[in-house]
Every structure is written in C-alpha cells, then in structure tokens.
Symmetry: C2
Subunit: 261 residues, 2 copies
C-alpha cells in the first residue's frame, strides 16, 4: 500500500510539474540604486521545496501593471519565481499611451545605457531573492520589455536565455551583438507594423554574424501586443490581442524554459 | 481501493499521454491507383483502445526510407497512427542524391498536379486504415515532403493542419493559396541555402493574402535537413543535422498536434 501511495504521489507530482498547477504567492519588492528607488513584484510558487528557477520579467511601456502581474502569475504557475522588475522607478507610471510612448522612448530610443543598467539591476535583484536559484535564470519581456531583454543579452548578461514577446528588434549598436552569451528567442507577430522589415533583417544578421543560438517565431495574422487582452481585437490599429498567437507563444516559452532551466 | 486504482490508472495514463511512452507496431501497406502500386508504412500505438488521430507523413527525396520510419516511430510514440505514404511508387527508390534529385524534381519542379494526386491518395489511404480516426488527421513532411504537405494544403485538403520540416516553400501557382482551408506551420532552418529569400517572402505573402492560419519558425544556425542525422554536421554543405533545431522543431510539432488533433 505504501508503494501504491508513492506511485500515486509520483504520478500526480509528475502530472503537476508537466501541466503546471502550482498555487502562487505575490509580494512587492522595493529596491534601490544610488538615489533611485524601484518597485517590482515577485510571484512564486507557494508549495516549492527550496529554491526554484527564476524568470526576470520586463514590463511593456506602461510599467509594472495589472497586465504584467497577470503574465507573471501565469509563468509562476509553471513552477518558476518570476520577478517583474521596474525599469521606470517607484511611482513612475504612465497614465496613458502618450505618456507611455514618451517614457519608453526615453530609454529605448534615448538612453540605452541607462536602460541596460536598470535591466541589470532587475536581474541582480531577482538573483538576490531567497526563493530563487540564482544559477538558473532567464529573462522575458513584452513590447518595450522585449527590446529590453535583447538589450540585456547585448550587454553580455549571463542568463540561460532571453525571450522577447512582440518586442522591438532594432539596435542602435549592432556591434554589441558580439557580447551575446545566451540564447535568444524572438516571438513576433508577422503583421506587427512597429517592427520594420529592415529591423528584422538587421536582427537576423546580428544574430547570424555573432553565431548566437537564436530563434525567430513568426505568428501569422498577429500584430503588436498579441499577448495582451487589453489591446482589443482590431488588427488595423497595429496592436491587438490574438488568442492563437498568445497560446502558441506561451507553449513555445514553456518549451524554451524547459530546455534552458 | 478501487478508487485508488482508478487514480493510479488515470495519473499514469495522463503522464503517458503527456510524455509519450506508447509502444508502437509497424506494418507495410500496399495500395493502388489505376495501374500504379505504392508501398507505404503505418506505425501506430500498440496499446490503443479504439481509433487514434492520424498523421500523414511525406518522405524526403529518398522515398520511404529508414529515416522516414524513424521519424514515423517518434511521432507514433506520442499516440498517433502515422502513415508514411509513398509518392514515387512501389520499388521506385533512388540509390543516391543524384537519382533522388532527378526523381523529386520531376514532381516538385515538373508535374505538381501528379504530386498532388499522389499526396491525396496517401491521405485517403491513411483515412482508410482501421486504426485511424479519419476525422482527426494532419500532414507532415520533410524537405521534398515539406513542399508536399503545403501543396496538399494548396490543393484544398481538409486536414487539421500541415507541418513542413525544412521544406521548399516556393509555389509555381501562388494563386492556389486561396484554396488553403487548414493551418500551416513551416519549420525552417534560418541558414537553409535551398530556400531563397524571395521564396520565403512569396510564401509569407501567399499566406497573408489568403488569411491562412500560418506560422513560420526560423531556427538559427540550421541549414537544410536539420532533423536528419544522416546529413552529417557540416553546415557548409547546405544540409546538416542540428540537434537543437531537431529537438525544438519536434517540441513545436507536439504543441501543434496537441492544439490541432
């Protein structure tokens, strides 16, 4: 009977770990650098025994939002400790798309050096959490954050992989591709009007020239923001939710994480 | 105790169906059309209760070979009945690359009408097997066969999806894209020299113009034949095995099949 019980437990644990039913907890994490204060969110499995692999999550142009936390919860349920880092700083949260565009642009098109510093700081903060196995960490990001995690790779970050969900793939300094030490997966809406054909070609060239372990997955009929329900469903706006691309990209993330962590 | 036994069975079946441990059987299937005779191979789960979903598998330019059967076995272990159809005809097996190139070319660049007829015949034969649930069928192909399954879609085949592994993506009749009723997944080596940039662009345009449910997954550092061990490991030859691209494309196939069947 003891043997049978062990069988049941093993089989159910196996099913759980495969299918991801972990209950999760959420906590706010405040962190500092110099005079600046940041406020991220850690979402982690409730029932973990010991440390678990970590996922650094970089928000879209709205900052750490409900949307970010929803995505973090979804990944934490797979058994990872997900840290939604704060690039903008505590209390700095755009109120609308116009403010978001300006703020994100100040990092993305403006000061990529500062962008990289904030990304690195997020990574260090994730690694410092007691729930996290610091040797097993990858980074994911959405839109602005998708650009972010590729920048993190270009800065030479020692992580197990980076995954961009509908991120901008341009680089102001393509030569930095030589610093990439990690694998790169770009999940891309094939009709995303915010990623120009020449950026896509330059991204591929940068990856190829530097012999990066890279993958690009194009989802037909999907535009920008395809994982985000709040984007609505009108492709003609250039950003829209796409249920198929959302589900498929999440499955691909799961495969990538299983391979990498 | 009965309840516990059911639990064990459910949990183990769940683990099996998720992880794919099914033992498989193989049998040769001879089939005819007019004066022509064909010889395919069916690989199916040994322990299935009733009919299972079917996978039509179209061989590379060498015809139904050891390589084809290895791939068929790998998919059948997931719980599908896989029929490796014979495009060339019984006993017609090229002895080397030169013969294979000529024979494949006679369908691919020559008579695509005949190619489609042979593909359709393979599909009907799969559907006629007693092990197969004819309502749940998809098609996969390798190289020449990858081109084949997209041709099958262009012929308007009513299947749940088609998956091309390093197939040629060109079309002599792009207008046929309007006939596509099924979802299309192209798994592509990003450095495959046999798929020209203009073919790739035309493929995307064909899919987009016809609002097909399509996906294109590009694997960095992979060339033609990336799933085939026998291709060696020298990318400079234009065709080579790539363990990462092989594993990743197979995971993507699994996700696609789970979604579609």
């Amino acid at each position: 009977m003891k043997r049978i019980s062990q069988w049941i437990v093993s089989a159910v644990v196996l099913a759980n770990s495969t299918l991801g039913w972990a209950a999760v907890k959420t906590k706010t994490v405040e962190y500092k650098k110099g005079k600046d204060t940041f406020e991220g969110v850690l979402v982690y499995p409730d029932n973990a025994k010991g440390k678990v692999p970590g996922v650094l999550m970089i928000h879209n142009w709205m900052g750490v939002s409900e949307e970010t936390q929803k995505q973090a919860k979804r990944m934490a349920e797979l058994g990872y400790a997900v840290f939604a880092a704060d690039i903008y700083g505590k209390g700095v949260r755009p109120k609308n798309a116009e403010e978001a565009g300006k703020l994100a642009g100040s990092y993305r098109s403006g000061d990529r050096k500062l962008f990289r510093e904030r990304l690195q700081l997020g990574l260090e903060t994730l690694r410092g959490q007691k729930e996290v196995d610091a040797s097993k960490v990858l980074a994911v990001g959405y839109c602005f954050g998708g650009t972010g995690v590729i920048e993190l790779a270009r800065a030479g970050a020692d992580v197990k992989g980076v995954v961009s969900f509908h991120g901008g793939l341009d680089s102001p300094a393509p030569a930095d591709g030589k610093n990439i030490k990690t694998r790169v997966l770009a999940l891309h809406g094939a009709d995303d009007p915010y990623v120009k054909a020449e950026d896509l070609a330059a991204f591929e060239k940068e990856m190829r020239d530097n012999k990066v372990d890279w993958q690009l997955y194009k989802f037909g009929n999907a535009v920008h923001s395809f994982t985000e329900l709040a984007a609505g469903n009108d492709n003609s706006k250039g950003a829209a939710y796409n249920a198929a691309a959302d589900a498929r990209s999440f499955e691909t993330f799961k495969d990538f994480a299983k391979e990498s962590l």
